[in-house]
């Protein structure tokens, strides 16, 4: 029995996590940049793709490409089967109750916009409130701001403390009689803070407030079970999960999706059309007008298969080790301050280095083949909260190594030499 459990926990390949082996699956990582081995520490912006995913996308175009849900020919049948199977895989991956609760979108941003423009529009009226937090990405701020502007509603913001943790009591206080929806990120892209989403959902539901979770930085770092979280919506992007760009997922509880008006009109989202009246398709198709990103969805399905083949628990443990090691090593750098020291963090090391602007840090590191992100990370209000115009951000995935952290620290030494 223990053998069975052991085999399951280390993935279909039956190999315990080994970062060297995992890196072999990512062809892009083997290159040199500016004469140095590439050190890719920008996975929070977009993650690299394993060969299995690249091959699946390419195989789709080489062998199966045809429009889905339309024709009776063999290729369309194959493409449709693969596309529908991908939806099943996504549902299983995040623990959704059924595949019809999975809407394919372009990415997290589109998922949030879809909810704001359908669910939000129907629910939010003049004088109502939409609650978000101070650590949201612009994509979980602006769609709500637009909705509030349109409806004459108010955007209310729950604060974060100096470490970058949400102040839960303050959030709870802001869940009021006029709160129509709460939109919160699972993991802050700029600070790495992991929010206690399950607890937050319980808090909100106690006040009758539905919750949308921005999961863009959640799914790449740990297992997510939407039914356990009990959130009403969960959105994420394929490309941050080692999958293709252009494909993302909006999970929504079936009861909500059924009740929501459609978003965009077009083919595939209808059952029948006359000039007098259109009957909309069932969920999730009601929200998928037009030819979908078939290659993207199939690639995302392949990503989930690949993730299932590796020792994910081992990968998570490796990433936790990297984060702890990276934090300790960065703190050795004179003048370096880490922005975001929440109790629970995932995959992100945001920092400022003395009076050197992050942009200059990024350019100098790039000359050492080290890729980090610098700037406001699409979270300008959060940067204002911490009193910095920008940060340098090294973000981790399980294919990173301690040696790469060492290279980063060495690169920061070069920055200090130049800005001595």
């Amino acid at each position: 029995m223990s053998t069975v459990a052991g085999t399951l926990s280390i993935g279909a390949r039956g190999e315990p996590f080994d970062v060297g082996r995992i890196r072999e699956d990512f062809p892009i990582l083997a290159q040199r940049v500016r004469g140095k081995p590439l050190v890719y520490l920008d996975s929070a912006a977009t993650a690299q793709k394993p060969r299995a995913v690249i091959d699946a996308v390419s195989r789709y175009y080489l062998e199966d490409n045809a429009n889905v849900h339309r024709a009776v020919h063999a290729l369309s049948e194959r493409a449709t089967a693969a596309f529908d199977a991908a939806r099943e895989k996504v549902a299983g991956f995040i623990g959704a109750g059924a595949a019809r609760e999975i809407v394919f979108v372009r990415g997290t941003t589109e998922g949030v916009n879809l909810v704001a423009q359908t669910f939000g529009r129907a629910r939010v009226g003049a004088g109502d409130e939409v609650l978000i937090t101070a650590m949201e990405h612009h994509s979980n701020i602006v769609p709500w701001q637009m909705l509030c502007e349109e409806k004459g509603a108010r955007l209310v913001v729950a604060p974060v403390d100096d470490r970058g943790d949400l102040v839960l009591e303050e959030l709870e206080k802001r869940l009021g009689a006029r709160t129509r929806i709460l939109a919160v990120t699972h993991v802050s892209n700029a600070l790495g803070t992991v929010n206690p989403v399950k607890r937050i959902v319980r808090m909100a539901h106690a006040k009758g407030v539905p919750v949308l979770v921005d999961g863009a930085q959640g799914v790449p770092h740990f297992a997510v079970d939407v039914r356990d979280l009990d959130c009403d919506f969960y959105a994420f992007s394929g490309h941050k999960l080692f999958g293709p760009t252009g494909i993302g997922v909006l999970y929504g509880k079936a009861e909500h999706l059924e009740a929501m008006p459609p978003w965009q009109g077009g083919g595939d989202m209808i059952l029948s059309v006359t000039f007098e009246r259109t009957i909309y398709n069932r969920i999730p198709h009601k929200f998928e007008a037009g030819t979908p990103d078939m290659a993207g969805a199939i690639g995302l399905g392949a990503t989930i298969d690949w993730l299932g083949s590796i020792d994910l628990a081992g990968a998570e443990a490796h990433e936790r080790d990297l984060l702890a090691y990276g934090t300790a090593r960065l703190l050795e750098v004179p003048g370096l301050r880490i922005i975001g020291t929440a109790r629970e963090k995932a995959g992100v090391l945001s920092f400022v280095l003395a009076d050197v602007h992050p942009h200059d840090v990024g350019t100098i590191l790039d000359r050492d083949g080290i890729a980090i992100r610098t700037g406001h990370h699409c979270a300008q209000p959060l940067m204002q909260r911490f009193g910095v115009p920008a940060t340098a951000r090294a973000s981790l995935a399980f294919y990173n190594t301690r040696a790469e952290i060492d290279a980063l620290v060495q690169g920061l030494g070069h920055v200090r030499e130049i800005f001595r």
């Binding site: 050197v356 602007h357 200059d360 350019t363 100098i364 000359r367 406001h376 115009p389």
Partner: protein, 149 residues
Amino acid sequence: MTSDLDDLYQDVILDHGRRPRNFRKLAEATSEVEGLNPLCGDHYKLYVKLDGDRISDLAFEGSGCAISKASASLMTSALKGKTIAEAEETFQRFHAMVVEGDKTKAQGLGKLAVLQGVCDFPTRVKCASLVWHALDSAIHGEQKPVSTE
């Protein structure tokens, strides 16, 4: 350290980045224009005081990287007292040097020539030219913010 980094981060640039000249609000400015680089968050306000067709004073405030700040500092130093036509000629020369990579244009730019290394860093060209676009907007009487995007 690689040599193109040395070219980029010359002492003059580091000095102007750290101790920018004309870094203040200009109360008597005849025009103020904001310059924004939404990608990296550079954000400056340029103050221009025009006296007829002459730039009698020039100052800036804000935050950004060493390159953008040094460029603003050097620009305000170089163009103070110049005519609009002279400023435009300098802008064109600077643009050719930094954006088009024509290093022959460095001659005649005086201290501004130290920014010629920027052209080897395509992602940083916008940093160097940000405040120049703000100036262009200011002397053409436009008060709306300029953006590098």
